[in-house]
């Protein structure tokens, strides 16, 4: 058995080792169903909710908010990163800011955003962008830094104009790190939006969980929770695999 397959098997076994005892404890009543319901019930609940279309509105709301925040974050972050990269003075100012940015729990600004923008999508989108854009900016700076000067020299020897230098040399060279930034952006936007919906909102999957919790509807709550977890893991997983493929071609293995 190859190592990769062995690792995969053990991983599946570990996950099963977490889920199966939980299932048994729930079924035998060791764990109170008012606290945690059996994993199989969670799956059943999720399937029911999806099938009945109850969640459709929440799904559409959350996904569209995340998508908007994601696109804005990437646009703003890349642009800001590119601009700052060209100016050493701006860079000197931005570097410490960016280094400290993620130490501040941006989430504490969310109630302020709601007070400013009202309840609904706008504060969620802003929260998502606030969470994600700096990561994009950081990776854009890192990516542009990583374009080796010999490649730029080569572009000049081949007499490429600035647009072509950007498109044919700078972007491909910076792409791996840029892509890491995009991956983080999705991750942070997703987390930010759903956290916001959970704490203070009227629509969306986060709100659905919170509502179910407060209505003591454990079954629905766990169903939506499972769905959100699966969406998060899948979306990030896809980007992670893609990122790996990009890196593999360019590294020695």
């Amino acid at each position: 058995m190859t190592r990769r397959r062995a690792v995969l098997c053990v991983r599946v076994a570990v996950l099963a080792g977490l889920v199966v005892p939980l299932e048994l404890c729930c079924r035998t009543g060791i764990i109170d169903p008012l606290t945690i319901i059996a994993p199989s019930d969670m799956v059943a609940s999720m399937v029911d909710l999806l099938g009945s279309g109850e969640l459709n509105e929440s799904i559409e709301s959350t996904f569209s908010t995340i998508a908007l925040a994601f696109v804005l974050a990437i646009g703003l972050g890349t642009l800001a990163g590119a601009l700052v990269h060209r100016s050493p003075r701006l860079r000197d100012v931005s570097d410490p800011l960016l280094a400290s940015y993620y130490s501040v729990p941006t989430f504490i600004f969310y109630p302020l955003l709601v007070a400013l923008l009202g309840l609904g999508k706008p504060p969620l989108v802003v929260l998502g962008v606030l969470s994600a854009a700096p990561a994009v900016m950081i990776s854009t700076l890192s990516g542009l830094d990583g374009v080796s000067s010999v490649l730029i020299k080569m572009a000049r020897v081949h007499r490429l104009n600035p647009v072509r230098t950007l498109w044919w040399i700078v972007l491909p060279a910076a792409l791996p790190r840029l892509f890491t930034g995009f991956k983080l952006a999705l991750s942070y936007a997703l987390i930010g939006v759903i956290a916001g919906e959970f704490i203070l909102s009227g629509t969306g999957l986060g709100y659905a969980i919170s509502f179910a919790y407060q209505s003591f509807d454990n079954r629905a709550m766990y169903g939506v929770m499972l769905f959100v977890m699966l969406v998060a893991v899948t979306a990030n997983g896809i980007l992670y695999v893609w990122e790996g493929r990009l890196a593999r071609r360019r590294s020695a293995r």
Binding site: V7, S187, A195, G206, A232
Partner: protein, 263 residues
């Protein structure tokens, strides 16, 4: 390098430093101005302007109530951070040394990291009830995985020649860990501590924001509920200041750890 060119190089850095200091002051002033603008434009309904906030904050710092809440947060946070750091470090070291276990665990940990942990909060509450243990659980939920991943990454990036050196010197596993592995990983470990610090704090605060009657997070939310805008603004300012100060301190310490002369 001749003395003259050394002098010139120093002059270059000190003039650059002066420009940087100037720019930093300009930045601080413009942020204050922006704050003031938002405060007065919204007529103090969203945020209170800087001066009013600072005055209120100083007043707040003299009340028992504030320190009572701050102590609650501090207690929960320190516990959460300590647990995240120690367990994370231990797990990271184990996974780093036992490569197979590390390969198995890493995607699971990374996957967990991408889940909006807020959605698991109800589970935590159902399991731990309301109170400090839930808050600590939130904090650990946020802070543990990054610490583990950073330590794991540091161990993985160790130059193999260090391990070979340890074996040639016939060091025991304990000494290898203590004298070689940990010092070599130190910069990354400090980095992990820094991130874990911020995230544990975030976890504790969010927990307080929606499930507690004590703590700075609660104070923030109750300030909003009572439309006591100076209070909520003051609390946010306080949290931001503490977070940035701690982060900057850890960056400095980490930087020094990275630059220290190699044994």
């Amino acid at each position: 390098m001749s003395d003259l060119s050394l002098e010139n190089a120093l002059a270059r850095t000190s003039s650059r430093r002066r420009i940087r200091a100037f720019d930093a002051v300009v930045l601080a002033l413009s942020m204050l101005a922006l704050w003031q603008a938002v405060g007065s434009w919204t007529k103090g309904v969203v945020v209170s302007p800087p001066l009013q906030t600072f005055v209120y904050l100083f007043g707040l710092l003299r009340t028992w109530m504030f320190w009572d809440h701050a102590a609650a947060t501090l207690q929960a946070f320190l516990l959460a951070f300590a647990l995240s750091a120690l367990i994370g470090l231990a797990l990271g070291l184990v996974f780093g040394v036992r490569r197979f276990a590390g390969e198995v665990a890493e995607p699971i940990l990374a996957g967990f990291y991408t889940i909006p942990k807020v959605t698991l909060y109800p589970v935590v509450l159902l399991v731990f009830g309301l109170g400090i243990s839930a808050k600590v659980a939130f904090g650990v939920m946020h802070g543990l995985v990054p610490m583990t991943l950073f330590t794991l990454g540091a161990m993985r990036n160790l130059p193999p020649v260090l391990i070979r050196t340890a074996r040639v010197l016939r060091l025991s596993p304990g000494r290898t860990m203590l004298w070689i592995l940990m010092p070599a990983c130190l910069p990354d470990i400090v980095n992990g501590l820094r991130i874990s610090f911020s995230l544990s704090l975030l976890g504790v605060l969010i927990g307080e924001m929606f499930s507690s009657q004590r703590g700075l997070g609660f104070l923030l939310v109750s300030g909003m509920a009572q439309h006591n805008v100076p209070l909520s603004t003051a609390v946010v300012t306080m949290i931001v200041a503490v977070a940035i100060a701690a982060n900057t301190l850890m960056l400095r310490v980490g930087g020094r750890a990275a630059r220290r002369p190699n044994p």
